[in-house]
């Protein structure tokens, strides 16, 4: 499990308006590019000072590539990060609060205890 890397993807994409649009329009290409170019960047450090070991597992890569917020929740991605980014991408296509409520209804089958989000 690489919950930290899932969270890092959601965090770095959410704060970059161009990346939000790119991920909305081309999720597969964005995830592949991000894992290749950004996954091992130590944030706030010079680009040459990289980590060497961070990679998604296949289920994580697939959840991100498919914009699957339910799978991300079940994999233990931080729910605040997923929600914030997905609202940024998809709220615009819906009426007021419609997207947020549909987002919850898609998770109605999930019961307590929720997946652990500790990284």
């Amino acid at each position: 499990m690489s919950k930290y890397l899932l969270d890092k993807f959601l965090y770095t994409v959410d704060r970059d308006p161009e990346l939000v649009e790119r991920y909305r329009e081309d999720p597969g290409g964005t995830v592949d590019w991000w894992e290749r170019e950004i996954a091992n960047a130590v944030l706030n450090c010079h680009a040459a000072e990289k980590s060497t070991w961070l990679a998604f597992e296949e289920a994580e890569r697939r959840a991100l590539r498919e914009h699957d917020h339910v799978a991300l929740f079940q994999l233990g991605a931080h729910p605040f990060l997923t929600l914030t980014l997905f609202i940024a991408m998809f709220e615009r296509d819906h009426g007021p609060l419609e997207y947020q409520i549909a987002y919850a209804r898609a998770m109605d089958h999930i019961t307590l205890p929720y997946p652990d989000i500790a990284t």
């Binding site: 930290y4 969270d7 890092k8 965090y11 959410d14 704060r15 308006p17 130590v42 944030l43 706030n44 917020h69 929740f73 931080h78 729910p79 605040f80 990060l81 997923t82 929600l83 914030t84 609202i87 940024a88 609060l97 947020q100 409520i101 987002y103 919850a104 209804r105 998770m107 109605d108 999930i110 307590l112 205890p113 929720y114 652990d116 989000i117 500790a118 990284t119």
Partner: protein, 287 residues
């Protein structure tokens, strides 16, 4: 010595700014009642005539990130820029800039470290809605210097609830012993039951009204023991997956004092989450 002019605990609802400033068809039906309650709550701070505000809140993965995550952090800087791109995008929050009180920040860091709290610090902190929401509701002119105190209620592992209470007690003691003639308000914001990104989010009210009812009673009555007897890191998952934000209310109960009833209590049942507002006057209610 400094005076604790008021201790204030509140929810921080990022939708208030937009709800309160919208007009016509965009104005939600609950906005007028919400604004009236906030304006009454604001008076409780205004009457305390504070000179400086200690602001307890929590960064929502804005500046503080999982590669370097402090549990408790004090901002020590001459200024704090505020609100982040995703808060403008989602909530319509404005950009803000608040002055900092570096003397009080330095004092709290030194005294806090000596009292057993290994406080992190930041000399360049962009603050988020956990601090700016109470500025918008309680002091919209944003004219007083602040000392932000950030807590980790967001990224496990977190400190236990009792640690939040202890930090609140320590903040109160430290401010009262600060060699200054200033009047300090200690303001902190958190959540009652709350779910974000899970199946119980954005319901017609908060995800656990029974928890909310008990929580308001604990806070209003200063019932620290009752609260600590029921609330644990594990138990906070049940009322909603973001309910660990309640620990900032527990910190404020510590600051207000064990068994000390709030001088002002109000709440508002909104969709998504319940709002709650509390004020204590340690030196007696101002006239």
């Amino acid at each position: 010595m400094a005076t604790v002019a008021a201790v204030i605990a509140s929810t921080h609802h990022p939708f208030y700014y937009r709800a309160s400033t919208s007009t016509g068809a965009d104005r939600p039906p609950f906005a007028d009642e919400w604004v009236a309650k906030i304006e009454a709550f604001r008076q409780t701070l205004t009457r305390a005539e504070p000179d400086v505000l200690v602001m307890v809140g929590s960064d929502h993965f804005h500046q503080l990130w999982l590669d370097n995550m402090p549990q408790f952090l004090v901002g020590k800087a001459p200024f704090f820029d505020a609100n982040w791109h995703n808060e403008e995008r989602e909530f319509g929050l404005p950009r803000m800039r608040l002055a900092g009180d570096e003397d009080l920040a330095a004092y709290l860091l030194r005294e806090g470290l000596d009292a057993g709290f290994d406080l992190a610090f930041s000399n360049e902190l962009r603050i988020d809605h956990s601090v700016t929401c109470p500025i918008i509701t309680l002091r919209p002119q944003a004219d007083l210097p602040i000392v932000p105190v950030y807590t980790n209620i967001f990224a496990p592992p977190m400190p236990r609830p009792s640690r939040f209470v202890e930090l609140g007690r320590a903040l109160r003691r430290m401010v009262e012993a600060w060699p200054s003639d200033k009047r300090v308000a200690i303001i902190g914001t958190g959540h009652l039951s709350l779910e974000l990104g899970g199946p119980r989010q954005f319901g017609p009210h908060g995800p656990d009204p029974e928890f909310d009812r008990k929580a308001v009673a604990w806070i209003a009555n200063g019932d620290v023991d009752g609260c600590l007897s029921e609330v644990t890191l594990a138990s906070l998952h049940a009322p909603g997956n973001a309910t660990h934000g309640f620990m900032d209310f527990m910190l404020m109960m510590g600051a207000a004092g064990d068994g000390v009833k709030a001088d002002y209590t109000d709440s508002l049942d909104l969709f998504h989450t319940m709002e709650a507002y509390f004020t204590w006057y340690p030196e007696g209610a101002p006239s």
